[in-house]
Symmetry: C2
Subunit: 228 residues, 2 copies
DNA sequence: CGAGACGTTGAAGAAGGTCAATGCAAGTGG
DNA sequence: CCACTTGCATTGACCTTCTTCAACGTCTCG
């Protein structure tokens, strides 16, 4: 479950990513020196209860941060995309699971070193502050969507959020590198409702679905309208 | 809506507050020198779109942070209790409203000064980081509750959360310094469902309600069980 | 006192969940 | 190579939970 980080060159590092909603911390000191670990799809980076040994920077792929309840229900807290960090802003042991939705690469930095550095380097500490602030904003946006939105509204804002995050090849072509169940658990819905809602959006000619996991936005204005 | 801060002695500052869920930043530098502003119930400290001029430390009362959608739906993001800070972890203009649920006092510190200080003082920057991290944890706990919980589970965890936060005179006696509509908008429910659920908890002899706004927990174990 | 804000309760309706069947593509083993 | 399994997505029928709409009670404050 928690294999030792293996050193390796980071080959898949995308730099051209757009992220209007996030404020990624470019070049958090020390992150260029960390080792890179390869994570298989569905493999856990860490689990709830594990000691918080590292902070990870996603180099490639998508990691789902989630909380699993005792009866199996699961809430995904956030999807971490390349450039995002996971493991920041926590104290003591991990409170969430971090699981790869697809094959990933993450860069690892020992927590102790980071905290040690931050206590001495105001610029680093300030960047940590900004990184966590960005996560806070994202969590609150999601909360508004889940707390107030209908299924249709949640799916629409999810697609818009992803449009701003994922490294897509074409404008308006969004790759969904996760299963329906991941989307459902992010939005507080069931896979059936996610599926039905996507179908409805297809019928409305707002989106088009290619190969199951690639969503083409046909009517961006209408989608924004629906998202509220 | 945004009256000039008025200088005044902070008389109502409670120090004996317990907050197991939060990690308040005791003595954020500069906060002892800020002016104190009195806020009436339902008055806004700031609104969405206002320039982010100050960070506020709650001295007395409770402030609701919320997002109001175009059609009037509202999601409360957090309740800020004495010792908590609002206005941290944001960039540019305010994205949320901050509204007093009851008469409050807040201590004001100009944002520019704080950021100026933080860029030079690693200890301050690190405390800011911790303060925002605590908010992030709270937001994520709420998200799990709203995304996965039934009405009963949401209300139960809400009560438990408050038990850890509010400065209560007696153990197991929780004051609710907000209206039912505030609770509803926090938990993604309607006031009717909140009311019915509280009634159900009363019928189950898990809680007792005194004077409408004071909740006595009769069976804490059962309540934790229900919260999941 | 009367008006307004807030809370509670009931009845009816809708959105989404649950259960179940089907489809479909990618392995896997004979 | 083909039968079989397995994981994931879609769709339909039914049901539960929560919302909506409405009435009423209570309290406060002008």
């Amino acid at each position: 479950m928690y294999s030792a980080p293996q050193t390796e060159q980071a080959t898949g590092f995308k730099t051209g990513r757009k992220a209007p909603n996030r404020h990624p911390v470019d070049g958090l000191d020390g992150f260029h020196s960390g080792t890179v670990r390869r994570i298989e799809a569905k493999e856990h980076v860490f689990c709830e209860g594990d000691p918080r040994t590292h902070v990870y920077r996603i180099e490639d792929g998508v990691i789902a941060l989630s909380k699993v309840l005792s009866d199996g229900r699961r809430q995904i807290i956030d999807f971490a995309y390349p450039g995002d960090y996971i493991g920041l802003g926590m104290f003591g042991d991990h409170v969430f699971d971090a699981q790869a939705t697809c094959a990933c690469k993450v860069r690892c930095l020992p927590t102790s070193q980071l905290e040690h550095d931050a206590a001495r380097d105001p610029a680093l500490a300030f960047r940590l502050y900004n990184a966590v602030s960005a996560e806070l904003s994202a969590a609150r946006r999601l909360l508004v969507s889940v707390g107030q939105g209908t299924a249709m509204e949640r799916i629409a804002s999810f697609l818009i959020e992803l449009k701003g995050r994922s490294g897509h090849l074409e404008e308006d072509l969004i790759n969904l590198p996760m299963r329906r169940s991941d989307i459902a658990d992010l939005l507080g819905l069931t896979i059936e409702t996610v599926s039905r809602t996507l179908t409805k959006l297809r019928m409305m000619r707002v989106i088009e679905i290619q190969n199951g996991n690639d969503v083409r936005i046909l009517d961006a204005n209408r989608l924004e309208e629906i998202a509220g």
